[in-house]
Symmetry: C2
Subunit: 191 residues, 2 copies
């Protein structure tokens, strides 16, 4: 989202189990009361958590980017709907249990994988109607989905049977910001 919006934040790594900020060994909960990522810290002291809130805030810093319909535009409800769908049906249902740092019992992981399939079918139906989640153009909901699709792929789930979704995944992966975001992440993580 930052790359699409032309923003250059300072990224800081966190020990999510120990809840420490790595570069100065401070308490992560001072920035993120829930202890969750993402956490956005603004110069004025504002702290913001949760993917849907953080990405919409960032989008609004670059209104001409089209990353979010402007406040008051009814299409913004549609964006909220898809941010919530990706957050609950994909991220929390599958990505979170699959990649949880503390580990997840195998029966829970298998159950998560079974729940993923109907959600992928919903996305596939959507991409038979429109090129992006909200409609014609790329929004922060697509950025969020791009990240979850990369993790779904890394977990060995092949979305090829959902052909419209698979075509969307290919298109999104070809987007320079998506490529650069994963390169940035690898560089920060020293991978």
């Amino acid at each position: 989202v930052c790359l699409e919006a032309g923003l250059a934040p300072r990224y800081r790594q966190v020990d999510l189990l120990g809840k420490r900020v790595l570069d100065d060994d401070t308490d992560f909960r001072a920035v993120s009361p829930s202890g969750c990522v993402p956490a956005l810290a603004l110069d004025d002291g504002t702290r913001l958590n949760e993917m849907s809130a953080v990405t919409m805030y960032l989008a609004d810093q670059a209104p001409s980017s089209g990353l979010a319909p402007r406040p008051g535009d009814p299409a913004r409800y549609r964006l909220q709907q898809w941010l919530s769908f990706v957050g609950t049906e994909i991220h929390k249902t599958f990505v979170f249990p699959t990649y949880r740092l503390q580990g997840t019992p195998e029966p829970v992981k298998a159950h998560a994988r079974a729940l993923l399939e109907p959600a992928l079918a919903v996305l596939d139906r959507r991409f038979r109607e429109a090129p992006h989640l909200v409609g014609e153009s790329f929004t922060v909901a697509d950025a969020y989905l791009a990240w979850t699709l990369a993790l779904i792929r890394r977990a060995g789930v092949d979305v090829a049977p959902w052909r419209a979704l698979a075509a969307y995944a290919d298109r999104i992966r070809g987007r320079p910001s998506v490529h650069d975001a994963f390169a940035t992440e690898r560089a920060i993580a020293g991978l």
Copy 2:
């Protein structure tokens, strides 16, 4: 939310397993492409899903209710944050697996219950700072949390150890709209 906003929608029951609208036996997916509730159908043909999007839309129909900060108000990001937290850390993490119609394997339910505790601790810390999720006044995020707290209670989880959260739960239960909403639900369901 409708009771707080002075709205009188027509409520329609759904067979969530068979994906049918009960009163006229039509396909629920015509209204809700994801097959999920809540689904809001407006007279102009607009269809909206997902709790955070539907509740914010309803709140905006009654701006003087204070149920949501107005579009463009920075406090709206805070509301989105809490709607997302309740949706992902409480509803999807615990309420959904606990009450899923198709049933959830016991190890998955036990895991869900273990994940609930840190989320309740986050809420407890929040209610030591402020009387409601966003701040001083009741918003749609509190309406969403009120519903999840009722289901948490029904599942036999006692929030008494989280004293600020327990006090909040008592206050919210005493709110006429919350009482009337559960009475409305019982009447519709014939309980």
